[in-house]
């Protein structure tokens, strides 16, 4: 990426004005993915002086600043204790620690990366995104919207839940992108299931959950049926990493295993 100017913003207002002053101005989180870009930009706006790198534990929710690095996120006690640590497992499988000390939670979310292990696991929890100037949006809505982001993501609000989470990243080697991501979360008999890296971005399996969450008893048959509905309703595709057929077999196996694991 070619950059003409690097500007360290001193206020959100200043950053917002600069961002919207030209289509050639961009925000960076950690800048972890900049090298992949061959773009030429005018001004890169750095938000590091705006105190957005805190994780604050409130009574009912966890407030995560958008500039919190992935490694700080996965290491924080509040995050580790959520859902029996499945968020930490998800984030900890992203590249190496040298990368995760640069990449930010905000950057990963705004990028809407289809292979994102963070997004797939996070979307099974009640998560709200806070943008400047004032705008709030559930994470799932943000993922589904295709609009270009012209506001600044400042905080991610994760409602505390006392359930159990499961995250499986299927990949060939320890440092690879996911061939498929499967996340399951269960709290008091209510499940959430998300499939990511399909190769498309993370989707919540609503139809399958409508079925699963209405069952009085979750036995092997119900689990099998749930997995089948996932296959019928969540589009899986082929790319150079894997074929559609293979992804289907993986989705079926790991949705079943995920449900079983969070139910035990």
């Amino acid at each position: 990426m070619e950059i003409k100017t690097y500007h360290k913003a001193t206020s959100l207002k200043e950053a917002y004005q600069l961002l919207n002053a030209s289509t050639k101005n961009i925000l960076i989180g950690g800048g972890a993915w900049l090298k992949m870009s061959t773009q030429s930009v005018e001004t890169v706006i750095d938000l590091n002086a705006l105190n957005l790198n805190q994780i604050i534990d409130h009574d009912d929710y966890i407030e995560v600043g958008s500039m919190v690095t992935l490694h700080d996120f996965e290491s924080h006690e509040s995050i580790i204790s959520l859902g029996k640590g499945f968020l930490g497992t998800a984030v900890g499988s992203i590249m190496g620690v040298g990368f995760r000390n640069i990449a930010t939670v905000g950057g990963s979310i705004v990028g809407r990366y289809s292979f994102s292990d963070l997004i797939t696991s996070l979307v099974t929890l009640p998560v709200k995104l806070i943008f400047y100037p004032f705008k709030e949006m559930p994470l799932e809505s943000f993922l589904l919207s295709k609009e270009k982001v012209t506001d600044i993501l400042t905080h991610i609000i994760i409602e505390k839940r006392s359930g159990t989470g499961y995250f499986k990243k299927v990949s060939n080697s320890g440092l690879d992108f996911a061939i498929l991501n499967v996340a399951v979360f269960k709290e008091q008999g209510q499940y959430q299931i998300a499939i990511g890296s399909r190769p498309g971005g993370a989707l919540i399996a609503h139809e399958a959950l409508d079925f699963l969450n209405s069952q009085p008893l979750v036995n092997d048959e119900v689990i099998e049926q749930t997995a089948n509905i996932v296959l019928d309703t969540i589009k899986l595709g082929s790319n150079k990493a894997a074929s559609e057929e293979y992804r289907k077999a993986l989705a079926k196996a790991y949705v079943k295993r995920g449900i079983k694991e969070v139910s035990s």
Partner: protein
């Protein structure tokens, strides 16, 4: 643009381009211990410590470093020499190209996680690729190094 940060304990000012990465700045200023292994933030060879945390210097814009602390092996010579004893003992230092980045990562691991499990160690160093050693001798050296720290 001018960027100011402490490098191995010394306050330094560098004249850099806005799109210049820390790796380039360091090598252009004679810190030859920091080297390039790949183009895509994937190998860990270029690892340095940013405020004591391991980061990929090829992925961090120098402008971002303004006001912070950067440590390379030149700044922690005693500690790295100590680590090198374990690697030499296990024959874990073959071509050596990944060793510098790995030593800094280990130095950070030692401070960050007390009594790490095998799984935690591997997760911490997984981003430091090695093509020579097959990782076993490295892991043996690392376990003994961390064990002796206790």
């Amino acid at each position: 643009m001018k960027v100011q940060f402490t490098l191995n304990g010394r306050n330094r000012i560098f004249e850099v381009s806005p799109d210049e990465y820390l790796l380039e700045t360091l090598r252009n200023n004679h810190i030859t211990s920091v080297r390039n292994g790949c183009d895509e933030s994937t190998c860990g060879v270029c690892t340095v410590l940013f405020d004591s945390k391991p980061v990929l210097s090829c992925t961090m814009l120098t402008a971002r470093v303004d006001g912070h602390h950067i440590t390379t092996v030149e700044g922690v010579q005693n500690e790295v020499e100590h680590i090198s004893h374990y690697f030499g003992d296990e024959g874990a230092d073959q071509c050596g190209f990944c060793n510098v980045g790995l030593a800094l990562t280990l130095h950070a691991l030692k401070s960050e996680i007390k009594d790490p499990t095998d799984e935690e160690i591997k997760t911490y160093i997984v981003g430091n690729l090695c093509r020579c050693s097959g990782y076993q001798a490295q892991f043996r050296a690392i376990k003994r190094f961390l064990g002796d720290q206790k």
